[in-house]
């Protein structure tokens, strides 16, 4: 009864199991990541990780690409640990709560300002941990997007002017595991010839068959793509192609410079918002011209519905509320270390993060493969009830 995936109410409200548009998940995740980048408050960062993990656990599918979230969590942990260890080794003696004093290694005069060992203070360790946690949170947010949205479907929704780039990426993504498999196979084969599979000589023996294999595969793939109509209607005048390319690349450069200008207040104002807008306009124009020339359709395109807008909006809300909280009370987002204070939960920021947790319910449930779905339904068949 409590399972919303089975209750008729969930279906009646239009939330049939389906995959959410991948772009919606990415906007959500980038919003959450933006929020994380604005604070070093460990409570807020912890909350962001918790919210991301909760949404992932509720709305990820059983597909192979959806199983990697644990890896991102581990990567985050490693970052925090490295940051702290680094700080302990290379000193950090501001503040006055000394935890332990390591023997200091004397360094020559030219290494002025660098020290190894010495007093380790609580303040410096905490600063390192906070900083590491922020980076870890960013990575976990991006990881969540990767796990929730099928990366291939994301590539399918790139503007058609970037289609070739998308196709290249798709092929590259599928080649990587093949290469790994190929290396494993050839290494085993090398052992059959009595080789140990180690050392430079052995590497050459492995590299050549693997490269030959990769070349063979890529030729076979190219032949198959050609035979199946890839690049069929690419009769584009060189002039249009150059115009599109110029607009897209120029636009993207403009966006990068503009984003930098907006974030860095020391840069001339003209490089800020105006540059960002001009860049965006050029890129969109490039996409529009490029998109018009391509005669291609998409199979089962992902729809963009109200649900997508809502999910994306929750992520944006987290970012906006975090920024607002920072403007209202900067200290609440950057807890003071000297003097040491206990971090608090800034109400506005907390609200924003909690809103970003709503997709756990708002996003449509994941579509299960038919066989599994039928097997799960079996006990609820009336006759089968105990």
């Amino acid at each position: 009864m409590a399972d919303p995936r089975r209750s008729p109410g969930a279906l009646a409200s239009g939330r049939l199991p389906r995959a959410l548009h991948p772009v919606a998940w990415w906007i959500w995740a980038i919003g959450l990541a933006t929020a994380a980048s604005r604070t070093t408050n460990p409570l807020l960062l912890g909350l962001i990780i918790a919210v991301a993990a909760f949404v992932v656990s509720e709305r990820r599918s059983d597909a192979p690409w959806a199983r990697g979230f644990r890896g991102y969590l581990i990567a985050g942990l490693v970052i925090v640990v490295l940051r702290v260890v680094y700080r302990i080794l290379f000193g950090g003696d501001y503040g006055d709560h000394v935890l332990i004093t390591l023997p200091e290694i004397p360094l020559p005069d030219w290494a002025v300002g660098v020290s190894i060992g010495g007093a380790i203070t609580l303040e410096s360790v905490l600063a390192a941990a906070y900083d590491g946690l922020r980076l870890a949170t960013l990575i976990i947010c991006i990881g969540a997007a990767n796990v929730l949205a099928d990366p291939r479907r994301l590539l399918r929704s790139v503007p058609s002017a970037l289609y070739e780039l998308g196709a290249t990426l798709v092929v590259a993504v599928s080649v990587a595991p093949q290469l790994v498999e190929s290396v494993g196979r050839v290494r085993r084969a090398r052992r059959l010839r009595g080789g140990s599979g180690r050392g430079i000589r052995a590497s050459i023996g492995i590299l050549i068959p693997v490269l030959e294999d990769a070349l063979h595969r890529s030729l076979a793939l190219a032949a198959a793509m050609d035979a199946r109509g890839y690049g069929r209607s690419a009769h584009v005048p060189a002039k249009t192609r150059r115009l599109t390319g110029g607009l897209v690349i120029g636009g993207l450069i403009g966006i990068c410079v503009g984003a930098y200008g907006v974030l860095d207040e020391t840069v001339a104002p003209i490089l800020g918002l105006p540059m960002l807008l001009a860049g965006a306009a050029a890129a969109i124009a490039g996409f529009a011209i490029g998109g018009r020339r391509l005669d291609r359709t998409t199979y089962r395109p992902d729809p963009w519905t109200v649900t997508e807008t809502v999910v994306a909006a929750t992520g944006v809300a987290a970012a906006v509320l975090m920024i607002a909280a920072g403007l209202a009370d900067p200290a609440s987002l950057q807890p003071s270390l000297v003097p040491l204070t206990w971090p608090g939960l800034a109400p506005l920021a907390t609200l924003g993060i909690l809103i970003a947790g709503l997709p756990a319910w708002l996003a449509p449930p994941v579509r299960l493969p038919t066989e599994i779905a039928l097997a799960r339904r079996a006990p609820s068949v009336p006759g089968a009830r105990p």
Binding site: V170, R188, G194, H216, D226, G229, R232, Y299
Partner: protein, 550 residues
């Protein structure tokens, strides 16, 4: 539908054309089979039908090829995608996406069909080829037969008028091959599709072919009715060989037709053998002195939660050839690799001459057990055959020239300066086998050695394996090739789901099995004959016997 007019194709850097003066016309709704030895130009002929030759492969094409009125000179493959569906040799290498449904839709996306049309066609093709239950599956998790059917489906969604298939069943076990052949004949009979396919294993498809194109020496091409064309060929499927031996006219191409002609032959055989069960020369029990060379007990191989080989016991005697059969994924390869010691083994022991190869360093393990893997090319990494041979001698500490003389014993005339990848499939296999034999292993294992070999190469391989057995090696091979097993094996093991489900003399195991019975056994059942040679031997003394009797 497809017309070749005085077509001559020469690849760059080749002195001789692959195909010479080809005049062909393939009609609508025809199933046309292309045959010829390895390297004779079958793939070239197929590639020319959708413009891959020469647009993609390079080389020069003289003459004209037209498909549905379109000249391939002016239409590159992509412009023919809506007329010709092309499925290459290795379907996995040709997959662009990684899920079944998207793969099916790929060509349609490039033909710019409307999404509703695409959706409808995908559903139709899923039903037509029995793929509906696989629609969400990643392509890499499919079995060989399923992959092949997805590749065919992906070509069909564009509603081409011609389907071109390059060796669609060569990597498949007999049952999966039948699935694919059934799907193809259904396309021809129900939809009137024109199908052109190349295949080495004629016995699998010949009965469905309307016409046969034979590529002969020097690129000459003959087209005609199957029986007519086969009459000019020396390497024929067993059913035709048997028909020649027995003088059946017209030559039957299906088991059903052959059985109708067979009663007289069966009687003759019964007379010739004097009512005694035929006993094959090769099925003699191994000499009593030859004890087990290889003694494996309780072999278990697992990959994560999957049990590939479950508690298998296996003894191999010197001087005998054993074959492991079974569907794709039944654990054959895992068993061979586990015995050799290089592959994973969870439990179990292997003893060869009192030692376990898995406990030795690789260089010593291969002196006990030599394995020729499925992708034999992986073993080769030098520039020339000569360098490869020298490398092999060095690796094994053998005197110079050992590998070369072994190679010469296996096949004639492999040039020293040739690049190993330029050799024919049969020569390359012989080279790898020679490299492994330099270490003089007691046990020789071969994983799918007949893949890509034509009849002549297979016959030669059979001689090589029998010779190895005679020299005191124990030979174990895994294969799908029923006819090859019938010619070479003394003993057959059948694996299913990691277990050995049958183990016995070849005749006992093969004749009893519906999917593994060779053609001769099917035709002459309940007689226990496996190959045309067996029958010929049994009949040979018969005329003498009758003369004495009269």
């Amino acid at each position: 539908m497809i017309r070749f007019e005085r077509v001559t194709i020469t690849y760059a850097e080749a002195t001789e054309p692959v195909l010479r003066d080809v005049d062909l016309e393939i009609d609508e709704g025809e199933l046309c089979l292309v045959i010829g030895p390895t390297g004779s130009g079958k793939s070239t002929l197929l590639g020319a039908m959708n413009g891959l030759v020469p647009h993609f492969t390079g080389g020069t094409l003289l003459g004209t090829v037209t498909v549905d009125g379109r000249d391939t000179r002016t239409h590159p493959p992509r412009e023919l995608a809506d007329v010709v569906g092309y499925v290459g040799q290795d379907p996995l290498a040709g997959f662009v996406t990684d899920a079944v449904e998207e793969e099916l839709a790929y060509s349609m996306e490039h033909l710019a069909l409307d999404p509703p049309v695409m959706r409808k066609r995908v559903e139709e093709i899923l039903d037509l080829l029995g793929l509906a239950h696989l629609r969400d599956r990643p392509l890499r998790t499919l079995s060989g037969g399923e992959r092949q059917r997805v590749a065919i489906g992906a070509a069909l969604t564009a509603h081409p008028r011609v389907l071109v298939l390059d060796e669609p069943t060569s990597a498949l076990d007999p049952t999966a091959a039948e699935e694919v052949v059934a799907a193809i004949t259904r396309l021809v009979h129900d939809l009137g599709m024109t199908v052109v396919l190349a295949e080495h294993r004629l016995e699998r498809v010949i009965q469905h072919a309307d016409r046969v194109v034979r590529i002969g020496p020097a690129g000459a091409v003959v087209i005609g009715a199957p029986a007519e064309v086969l009459a000019t060929v020396s390497d024929v499927p067993p059913i035709v060989g048997l028909a020649r031996l027995a003088g059946w006219q017209p030559v039957p191409l299906s088991i059903r037709d052959a059985r109708r002609s067979a009663p007289r032959l069966r009687e003759r055989l019964l007379d010739a053998s004097g009512g005694v069960e035929p006993r094959r020369a090769t099925a003699e029990p191994p000499a009593p002195a030859a004890s087990a060379v290889l003694d494996a007990t309780g072999i278990t191989v697992t990959y994560g939660a999957v049990v590939a080989v479950r508690d298998v016991d296996l003894r191999l005697a010197a001087g005998a050839v054993a074959a492991v059969m079974g569907r794709n994924g039944s654990g054959k390869s895992s068993l061979l690799w586990a015995i050799q010691g290089t592959g994973p083994r969870l439990r179990g022991t292997v003893h060869v001459a009192g030692q376990d190869p898995a406990a030795l360093v690789p260089a010593d393990a291969r002196r006990l057990v030599g394995l020729v893997p499925q992708d034999a090319d992986d073993l080769l990494y030098r520039e020339t055959v000569e360098a490869e041979c020298r490398q092999a001698d060095r690796e094994s500490g053998a005197p110079d020239g050992t590998c070369r003389s072994l190679l010469d014993r296996l096949v004639d005339g492999v040039p020293d300066a040739a690049h190993p990848r330029d050799l024919s499939e049969g020569q390359r296999l012989a080279l790898v086998l020679a490299i492994q034999l330099v270490a003089d292993p007691k046990v020789v294992l071969l994983d799918e050695p007949t893949r890509g070999l034509d009849y002549a190469a297979k016959r030669h391989l059979a001689t090589i394996l029998r010779d190895l057995a005679r020299r005191g090696h124990a030979v174990l091979l895994s294969t799908h090739d029923v006819e090859f097993v019938a010619t070479v094996a003394d003993r057959v093991l059948v694996m299913a789901d990691g277990d050995i489900v049958a183990d016995g003399p070849a005749a006992d195991v093969l004749v009893a099995s519906p999917s593994f019975a060779p053609q001769v056994a099917r035709i002459l059942a309940p007689g226990r004959w496996l190959t045309v040679d067996d029958v010929a031997q049994a009949l040979a003394p018969a005329p003498v016997a009758t003369r004495v009797a009269t």
